[in-house]
Amino acid sequence: MTVAPERLQASFPNAHHGVSADGIPYVLVRPENIAETARAARDELGYVRWVDLTAVDEPDVEPRFELQYLLYSMAERRWLRLKTQTDDKVPSVTGVFPGANWYEREVFDLFGVEFEGHPDLTRIMMPDDWQGHPLRRDYPIGGEAVDFTVTREILGTGGGNELRG
C-alpha cells in the first residue's frame, strides 16, 4: 500500500520522507511551508479528502510538538501524512482544507499550539476560562485519589492526592 516515494520525493524535494509502521508514507516539512505542502498535496497529488490532525508531545525533544496531518486521495485510495515539528506557532491550513477548523481548535485547546490565520482560534473542548493545556505530557492527570483503606494507611490521610498533582 505504500505510494512510490519517488513521486512524493519529486514533488517535495527538500522534505524528509519516510513510511510509518502502518504503511502510510509521511512527509516531514518545516512549519512555515505546511500550507503550501498541503495545497500541493491536494492539487497536484490528488489528496483531496481531509482526514485528521493531531499532535504528539515529546517534552524532551527540542521542537516539542509534532503535528500529524492526515489526507486521503479518493482516486488512488491511499492516505498521506504530513508532519511538522514546532514549539508553539504553525500557519493554519483552514485556507486549503476548511475541515481543519475544529481540528486546529482542538490541538490549540489541548496542546497550546497557535495556528496563525485561523478564523476563530478559541477553546473547543475545555471551558473557556480553563487554565493550561491538558494533553501536554507535563500536565497532571488530575482527578482525585481514590480513598482505598490501603492508600490511606500507607500515604497517611492524604490518600495519595500528591500523586495526582
Binding site: A21, D22, I24, R49, W50, V51, M125, M126
Partner: protein, 395 residues
Amino acid sequence: MVLETHRIRNTLHINMGPQHPSTHGVLRVELELDGEVVVSCKPIIGYLHTGIEKTFETMGYLQGLTLTDRMDYLNPMGNNLAYCLSIEKLFECEIPERAIVGRVLLAELTRINSHLVFVGTAGLDLGASSVFLYCLREREKLQDLFEWLSGQRMMTSHIRPGGLASDFEPEWLTACDAFLDEMPKRIDEYESLLTNNPLFKERMIGIGVLSAEDAIAYGVTGPMLRACGVAQDLRKTNPYLGYETYDFDAIVADGGDCYARYKVRVAELRETVKIAKQALKRLPGGPVKTSNRKVMPPPREELGTSMEAVIHHFKLFTEGIRPPAGEAYVPIESPRGELGFYIVSDGSGKPVRVHERAPTFANVQALPLMAEGGLVADLIAVIASIDPVMGEVDR
C-alpha cells in the same frame, strides 16, 4: 420606568443548548434566527469532554481497550476493532482465521445495533415515536446476544489485541442465525412505517443538502458522504479483515439531503445482515487467539508444562503488552464513517499517544453548511440525520 431603547435587531439570538431532547446528547447549537429561518448556527461541543485520550496515556494497552468501548457507545465493538487493528499492525502479528471472520461478524452486528438506534431516534425526533419502540425491541435481542457472548450488554470489550476474548458457543451461533433470519422482515416493518410516510418525506426530502465537494473538503465520511453520491466505503475502497471476499454492495444515494442519508443507512442495514450471514456461514474452526505470545497469554494448560509459557504469561500480566516503537493508524468503516486509532508507541507498556479519528467530529463540524438557510424544525431533522454520538465527538 424609562423604557431603555436598545439596538433594534430583527434576528433572535437563542441557544439550543446541551440539555435538549433532540440534540442526541450534549451538543449545543447557538442559533441566530430571523423568524423561523436559521440565519447562522454555531455548534459548540465539549460538554462531554472526558479526557479519554489523556487517560489512555496513564493506562496499559489492554486496559485502554475498555476506554474504547465508552467513546462511541453505540458502536463499542467497532471501536475495539479499530484499536486492536492499529496495535496488531505495530506488532505485525498474525490473527487466526476464525478470529478474523468472528470480528467481521461482531463488527456487522454492532453496525446493526447502531443503525437501529439511528432509525429509532430519527423517527422520534420527527414525532414518530412508535418506530423507536420497534427498533429498540430488536436491539434488545441483539444486546442479549452480546451479553451472552461477552457478559456485558454494551461495553463488551470482546475484540482484544490478538483475536477475541473467548470463542463462540455453537448455541450462540444458532441464536445469532435466528436473529439474522428475522431481521429482514423487521426492516420491512420499519420501512413501512417511515420510508414512504408522506409526513416523514416532507420533513426530510430536500432538507439539509450537503454537496459532495463540501463533504470531502470538510472530511465528512460514512453514510453522510455516501448520501452525497461519493462511493467511499472503507470496506470496499481499502478492505480490511477480508471484506473484499464478502459479496455486498456499498450503498450510494444521490441528493445529499436528510432523506438520502436515511435511505443509505436503512439500505446498509440490509447489506449488514447479508454480510453477517455470510460470515456466520464461513466461520472456520480453530483458535480465536493468536499464537504470538507477546500479544496474547498462552492457554492455561500450557502453563503447567513449558517454562517459557510461564515467563510469557508473567511478563504479559505484569507489564502488559508492549508493541514495538512506531506509529500506526488502521481505520475501519464504522456506522458513522472512517474511524481509526492513531497510536504512537515507544516500546514501553504505556502508549505515548492514542488519538481517535472520530467520524462524527468532522460530520458535526459540517452542520452549519446544512442547517443555515433552513427552518428551525429542519435543524432538528439535520441533527438527526447526522446521527452524532457526543461520546466520540468530545472524547
